[in-house]
Structure formats: structure tokens, C-alpha cells
């Protein structure tokens, strides 16, 4: 599902402000959109309509809480160097695992990058071994050791 691209110059001032000022800090109050409207010098109805419209157009995927990725269990980033002729089949094999929640093709000798998440390390290892056996290639596993970024959203046009 590919959303069409929105030209930032076509965004209204309100849309830009909603994107830049409300990626975090949505009020935990009885009427958050009315509170936002007051700050944005407009009405609750206008704010709600703008957010619905932005959601329908795919500019925002949702309005709500962003949860920290689940750390329960075990997970790792992994990479594989797959020959072009085997790529489609290996990529499909990797994606078919429920334990794989991200799988990207990248421009590099190591051209397949995926994340394996399971209730325990043993299951992560099993999945990696199955992928090694199927692909005939060693899997590089690069588990997270430290995450640095404090995620407050992303400046768009500041």
C-alpha cells in the first residue's frame, strides 16, 4: 500500500503546526483537542477535522500514544548476503516467520536486513539457524546493546 506523496508547500499553516508541535505533548485531559485548539487559536472542530483529513490522506498514520518497543523476550537485528538469483526466495522465507517483524532489502553486499523477536533467546537462535540452513549463508546477528535516542518525534519544517 503506497500512499501518495504530499508536497510540504501545499500544507496549510494549521497542518504544519499540528505536525511540528503535536508529535508529542497531546494533552492528557478530558478534551485534548479543545485544549490544542485554544493553543492554536482555532476551534476544537477545526482541529478534529484537520487531523481526520491528515489521517485519511496518509500524512499521519494515527494520533495517539507511541509505545516503547517491547523488551520482554529476546530480539536481534540480523543481516544476510544473498545472491541476486536467490534473493526473492530467501526474502520470502525470512518474511514468512512470525518472529520476523521487519525485513528490508538494502543496497550493500549484506542485502537483507531483518529483525527477529521471540519470547526467548533459544527461539531467536532457532530462527537464525533455520534461515542459515535455507539460505546457505551465515547470518550476522547484531543485537541491540544500547539505544540512545530520546524519541520526541521528528522536526519537519522547524
Amino acid at each position: 500500500m503506497l500512499a501518495k506523496v504530499v508536497n510540504p508547500e501545499q500544507l496549510t499553516e494549521l497542518e504544519k503546526r499540528l505536525l511540528n508541535e503535536y508529535q508529542h505533548g497531546l494533552p492528557l485531559s478530558a478534551t485534548p483537542f479543545a485544549d490544542m485548539a485554544q493553543h492554536l487559536d482555532t476551534t476544537e472542530d477545526v482541529v478534529l477535522r484537520a487531523l481526520k483529513e491528515m489521517q485519511e490522506q496518509g500524512m499521519i498514520s494515527r494520533v495517539g500514544p507511541v509505545f516503547k518497543p517491547k523488551r520482554a523476550g529476546a530480539s536481534t537485528l540480523a543481516a544476510l548476503a544473498v545472491s541476486p538469483e536467490k534473493l526473492a526466495s530467501v526474502a520470502a522465507y525470512v518474511s514468512a516467520f512470525d518472529e520476523v517483524n521487519h525485513n528490508y532489502e538494502r543496497l550493500h553486499r549484506l542485502n537483507l536486513w531483518f529483525v527477529v523477536t521471540a519470547p526467548n533467546q533459544q527461539r531467536v537462535d532457532e530462527v537464525l539457524v533455520e534461515i542459515e540452513v535455507y539460505s546457505g549463508q551465515p547470518v550476522l546477528y547484531l543485537p541491540l546493546m544500547k539505544h540512545f535516542h530520546i524519541d520526541l518525534g521528528f522536526p519537519l519544517w522547524c
Binding site: A3, S61, R62, V63, P65, F67, P155
Partner: protein, 171 residues
């Protein structure tokens, strides 16, 4: 931030009810509370606790960068001295064009890089300038780096909490 807190049954139901987004209505927390058979005050209190403990990172509009024209995204990987990886990770993670920065182990001899950063720009030229800025900041401690552009997203599914599943979220 980052304290271990245990989620009880109602917390988990709030996570499940809100993870796909709040309803765009005047009183969204009341709406969630009605669904769960509790009060808006209870929902807000519990969400505030999850926010303060870091389980909720933020509450707001979640932009779709691709639709908004951010086409120049690259996974950059850096080989920096191990004793400085935390210092540099924090500096790079604080840059406003970096969405994620991670320390990961090297996998020698095939993989020398120990610091990962997702860098975003509207096009590849802009991205290149941003990567150059990181390289300049690291100076001699940038022993090598590469940019890995993604050519295809083959699978991307969010991690979802399943109702009733016991979960401890921790750092």
C-alpha cells in the same frame, strides 16, 4: 524514565485499545473508558504513569515521513572506538535529523561497525550533507562508515500487545 513497571490487566487493555490510535472525537479518553468499562480519569492516570515511566514514549500525531516527502532515508553505520561509543551515540542521537541511534556489537571480520544511526532527509543530497556533518563531528574517531539505503520494505509489522498476554516492559 525506564523504571521497570508491571502492567496490570487494565493497563494492558488500555494499550490494546489505544495502540492503533485514539478516536478523533471531542473526548477520546472518555470514549476509551466507555469501551473498557472504566472512567476517563482512570484511563488518563494510567496513561500518564506509562508516559512517566517511558512505556509510552510520547502521545501525539504520528507522521508518515514517506508521504510527507522524506525520501532520502539511510541507515548509517560507524566504526568508532568502543570506549567512546556511548558518548558519540548520545551526541548523534540528539541530532534532529536522526530518528534512532543504537550501539550494536561488531561481527568481525565481516562487520566492523558498532554504532548505527537512522538519518533522514528529503533527498539523497540533503542526506549526504547530514552524514558529512556527523563524520565531521566524529573527526579522527570516525574510522570508517557506510550508508545502507533500503531499496524495498519486504515486511514491516508493528509489535502488538495481545489482549490477555502477560507482559513486562523494561529497558
Amino acid at each position: 524514565m525506564g523504571d521497570d513497571i508491571k502492567l496490570d490487566e487494565l493497563d494492558r487493555r488500555i494499550v490494546v485499545a489505544t495502540q492503533a490510535g485514539l478516536p478523533l472525537v471531542a473526548e477520546p479518553y472518555q470514549h476509551i473508558a466507555d469501551e473498557l468499562g472504566t472512567t476517563a480519569k482512570e484511563v488518563m492516570q494510567r496513561m500518564r504513569r506509562m508516559l512517566e515511566s517511558g512505556i509510552i514514549r510520547r502521545i501525539g500525531a504520528v507522521p508518515n515521513h514517506y508521504t510527507l516527502g522524506f525520501r532520502g532515508n539511510g541507515m548509517t553505520v560507524w566504526d568508532v572506538p568502543d570506549e567512546k561509543v556511548v558518548e558519540y551515540g548520545e551526541k548523534i542521537g540528539a541530532l534532529d535529523f536522526v530518528s534512532h541511534a543504537y550501539h550494536r556489537p561488531r561481527f568481525l571480520p565481516e562487520w566492523r561497525y558498532n554504532l548505527f544511526a537512522m538519518v533522514h532527509g528529503t533527498n539523497r543530497d540533503e542526506l549526504k550533507h547530514k552524514i558529512d556533518a556527523i563524520a565531521e563531528m566524529l573527526g579522527k574517531d570516525n574510522r570508517a562508515h557506510e550508508v545502507l539505503f533500503s531499496t524495498r520494505i519486504l515486511k514491516k509489522t508493528g509489535l502488538r500487545l495481545i489482549p490477555g498476554q502477560k507482559t513486562v516492559i523494561r529497558e
